[in-house]
Assembly symmetry: C2
Homo-oligomer: 309 residues x 2
């Protein structure tokens, strides 16, 4: 691992996006061990939980406990997903550093996912921003534009809608706005075009590329996003997760393969690949029998591999 | 499928590279059905066989019969791999349109794969060129630089060696020279750098990018090659194949995912994706129980998908 500053930020979403997509509930102690292993590899931003009612997502019932533990890891940005104001209250009470609120560019997906229109979600975001300003002004708020590249319910999503929504969430007070390929429909040309337009609109407030590997294009899309200036990438160890409300969608980008790609390209991630591969151990231990993905873990690092210096 | 000319050439290598890497031998009639299905999807270049002694690769014992059938498909470029002059004689006698000779940039891999040094392979190529000039001057000869991005035996391969070898094979009379990531060690930065250098050296004689998905970077590497002007891509239906002499190497780029990527980007391949997916049927029928790969076949085409126009 290089002593120099990372050039890209890998934001691990497995403990939230991954765990909420599988049927089994990982015991809290296993979650903490897994998060510790991710941290030990050099990962410095983790979406550790989702603040949603436990009756909807029992996998996330221990969100506050998980956050409490994650806050003990020095230098780690502890993120949580919140679907609404109520979730934001709980997340802020738990002490997270960063909130992420999904706002869908597809009206159909927005209604199916959170039973709100896009405009209603922007208003919800504005309420969350006010709450944050009152209670925890240091906390960052990201709005992740989901279904930004297409929707399994409505099909194509107009690029103008995505650009409008990215501007609207920043206007409403979000610190950054990323784009999510919730449904695995993105292609590299579209990724370059859309991130380019969004950056022209909101500049450095452009947040993460959250790509899926549904049709095998996950890394190509991350490369495309990198090419147009994106420097934060969401991914999930073992490719765990997807979106339970977007039928047919599956497969977050695999953190191991993503980190391998950047490190092999000479782009510093701050992550030690061998330790990252070792972090699959506690994941597997906490979710016995759950299939994990990833080509680099299967093939191993190439002979004579040299990480970014 | 668009009526306009394709913008990239997808060169299907499954019937050669794929079939010679699996243990089972596909019956000839099944091979022909599979090739017909590939052709029906719009594929116009297929590496249909390898001309090697049947005792070494019994899967390829019917090479001449397969070529004979493939030659009946109008507009199809019928390619065969030959490891040496003897193979070239047989391939030319069978009537192929194009020969491909693997020439390894790694001395260690060259010795292990064909028991010749790189220089000896360049000399072998020159003999094949003379034979071609005498017997079948219309036939094209490609020299595929294998282990161009790294070698499982010797580790790193000097980029200067690759550029030198690409120039040497063109000097020896090859019509084109492509670069192969035989061992799945390439990364997009390296792909851009090396193809850029090779194009600077041999210009339009630069041939195919033959990428592997060993560490999940196959499509990202194809995108990188496209970005620097490469317009021919080798891939294998169902990701069948690899290199039996490069331990740990596996996984050709999946044709279905590659075609999906380009078509989704608006880059015409000339291939109908639904028919391409249907071509997995005869492949599976001829190789029962053999695992096939591909994310697009699993996920299906996105709702409202529009191919390149």
């Amino acid at each position: 691992m290089s002593s120099q500053a990372p050039e890209v930020l890998i934001s691990e979403v497995g403990p939230r996006d991954g765990l909420q997509s599988v049927k089994a509930t990982m015991p809290t102690t296993d979650k903490l061990r897994w998060i510790d292993a991710l941290y030990a590899s050099g990962i410095r931003e983790i979406e550790v939980a989702s603040f949603v009612p436990a009756r909807l997502l029992p996998q996330m019932a221990d969100a506050a406990d998980v956050v409490r533990h994650a806050l003990t890891l020095p230098g780690l940005t502890v993120m949580a997903l919140v679907p609404n104001l109520r979730g934001a209250e709980a997340a802020l009470a738990a002490g997270v550093h960063k909130l992420t609120l999904p706002v869908s560019a597809s009206e159909a997906h927005s209604l199916a996912n959170v039973r709100k229109t896009r405009q209603e979600m922007v208003e919800e975001l504005a309420r969350i921003v006010r709450l944050r300003d009152e209670r925890a002004p240091g906390v960052k708020i990201e709005a992740g534009i989901s279904t930004a590249f297409g929707c399994t319910l409505q099909g194509a999503v107009a690029e103008d809608d995505v650009v409008w929504l990215a501007a609207a969430v920043i206007e409403a007070g979000a610190d950054e706005s990323g784009l999510s390929d919730t449904t695995g429909m993105a292609n590299p040309a579209q990724v370059r075009r859309l991130f380019h337009r969004v950056r022209a609109e909101i500049g450095e407030r452009t947040g993460a590329a959250h790509m899926h590997n549904t049709r095998g294009l996950g890394l190509a899309n991350c490369l495309a996003a990198y090419d147009v200036g994106v420097r934060t990438f969401d991914s999930s160890l073992g490719g765990l997760g997807g979106c339970p409300y977007a039928p047919g969608a599956s497969g977050n980008v695999v953190t191991e393969d993503l980190v391998f790609m950047f490190e092999a390209m000479g782009i510093r991630t701050g992550i030690d690949l061998n330790r990252l591969l070792a972090a699959r151990g506690p994941l597997q231990a906490g979710l016995p029998g759950e299939p994990l993905y990833g080509m680099t873990p299967e093939a191993g690092l190439p002979k004579g591999f040299v990480p970014a210096a």
